[in-house]
């Protein structure tokens, strides 16, 4: 069994790492990581905008975003990917690589998710900070920029890392539209070998485990650091952080 696994890794490591590249699109682990990093990088600014819109008093801003958040919370990501596959080419008018479709879908999905995290971070600060900044003459956006967001975003760094881990796990669903990622590479190997499915999927699980476990550790350590740094200032309500954790820490 173990010798099978070593043999598979020896024969197919390059396929697992970069897919068919340079004879085909970049795939494998490289594509998985690139997709995840790009998704979170775009989702982050989107999420701040969505959070501010959802906190705004104007129903014109607040309603569509609330609807989007409920939509993404209530519909399986798989369904959203199918939608993306159907809609993105309709909007762009051209055939689009599945990688890009997946990226757009993930940005919308994780952007909505992350916006709840950011909003939670802002709400958890309480009214006092905003009031103090307004009393000093800051505008609403100025207070957000210099007082609220620096604190809120710092406090939710661990949750952002958790969302990043979720994103990595979510990229596996790209298989429905044939995104050439790590899972896709493993399926290809399985189709070639036919006789060793357990060994192939075991390797796949192990690779994801190592990456996600390491990142989760980073999240835990960051959280401890932040808690230590915050010690002495007003403690955050436990209930609030519990709710926040439930939001970010999703199986996928």
């Amino acid at each position: 069994m173990i010798s099978d696994i070593i043999a598979i890794i020896r024969d197919y490591w390059l396929l697992l790492l970069i897919g068919q590249y340079p004879n085909g699109p970049l795939g494998g682990l490289a594509a998985t990581l690139m997709l995840s990093v790009l998704a979170i990088a775009f989702a982050f600014p989107v999420s701040i905008a969505l959070a501010l819109a959802r906190l705004s008093k104007s129903p014109l801003l607040n309603w569509p975003v609330s609807a989007l958040v409920y939509f993404t919370r209530g519909v399986p990501l798989l369904m959203l990917i199918l939608w993306g596959y159907f809609l993105v080419p309709l909007v762009t008018g051209a055939s689009v690589p599945s990688f890009l479709t997946m990226l757009v879908t993930l940005v919308v999905y994780q952007g909505a998710f992350l916006s709840e995290v950011v909003r939670g971070g802002i709400v958890a600060l309480g009214h006092g900070q905003m009031e103090a900044a307004r009393a000093l003459g800051h505008s609403y956006l100025g207070a957000m920029r210099y007082v609220i967001l620096p604190q809120a975003l710092y406090n939710v760094i661990p949750s952002i890392i958790s969302v990043f881990v979720s994103t990595i796990k979510d990229t596996t669903l790209g298989y429905v539209i044939n995104v050439p990622d790590l899972t896709f590479a493993a399926s290809q190997i399985n189709n070639q070998l036919l006789t060793q499915p357990f060994q192939v999927f075991f390797i796949l699980a192990a690779v994801y485990y190592v990456i996600c476990w390491s990142l989760s550790r980073v999240a835990v350590l960051t959280e401890r650091r932040i808690t230590r740094k915050r010690a002495g200032t007003a403690a955050q309500a436990t209930a609030k952080s519990l709710k926040l954790a439930a939001l970010t820490d999703q199986p996928s």
């Binding site: 209530g74 798989l78 881990v165 209930a239 999703q250």
Partner: protein, 235 residues
């Protein structure tokens, strides 16, 4: 392609019965794995509190694996991997009894158990230790203090997380399509293939998922409210 027309799907008895079968299978998978997950979660929680380091180490490893490997890969490992290693007799029996659905329930249930058990544990940890001390000071035994003071508060703390994770379990039942379970997402792809009505079939199924998820959230919110003595007006 002709214009938007839902009746193309809802007016066709064949498609409607495919939808209904899909809904049924989605619920079988979701409810089956929820029950399995909750049962396992309670066992895992018990193991956590069991004396000695072995139980705790096992649960830590269990939770770590199930949280850090994508659910889809877990399902694939079960269905494409572990299934093939099973003895022939068992394989035949499973194949006669919808093996896909059984492995979906096992895979999703085992994965979700890790989340549920952690939700319950954080809920318990959020109860102030002063509560246990106060109960012991009043003369409660450890078990009685747990039963009447700690566990009620711990479960109440865990409710929001449990509800959220129940919704995501329901959504994740769609992953079962990857191992060939004929649930709702499977049905929509079939209907789309047969009818060429992509927009309509996606829309219908999306609405169905949304309605069921919102129902779970609403029931969850109601349960959470009932469990809160202040907000339910019992205090």
């Amino acid at each position: 392609m002709s214009s938007f027309d839902l009746s193309e799907i809802l007016g066709n008895p064949e498609y409607v019965s495919m939808l209904l079968l899909g809904i049924e299978m989605t619920f079988v998978v979701a409810i089956g794995s929820w029950v399995l997950a909750m049962t396992l979660a309670l066992l895992l929680l018990g193991l956590r509190y069991a004396p000695g380091p072995v139980g705790n180490a096992f649960v830590t490893a269990y939770v770590s694996y199930h949280r850090n490997v994508p659910t889809l890969v877990q399902l694939m490992l079960w269905y494409f991997g572990i299934f093939t290693l099973m003895p022939d007799g068992l394989t035949f029996w499973l194949n006669d009894h919808n093996a896909e659905a059984i492995f979906a329930v096992i895979g999703l249930g085992l994965c979700q158990a890790a989340y549920f058990s952690e939700d319950l544990r954080s809920g318990m940890r959020a109860v102030s230790p002063g509560q246990l001390e106060a109960a012991r000071a009043l003369g409660h035994s450890y078990v009685s203090a747990m039963r009447f003071v700690m566990v009620p508060q711990g479960t109440r703390n865990a409710l929001p997380a449990l509800i959220n994770h129940s919704v995501s379990l329901f959504k994740n039942s769609s992953l079962a399509v990857a191992i060939g379970v004929a649930e709702l997402t499977y049905a929509v792809k079939e209907i789309e293939n047969l009818s060429f009505r992509t927009f309509e079939s996606y829309l219908l199924v999306t609405i169905l998922y949304l309605v069921f998820s919102l129902m779970i959230m609403t029931v969850g919110a109601y349960v959470a409210r009932r469990a809160d003595p202040v907000r339910s007006g019992r205090a």
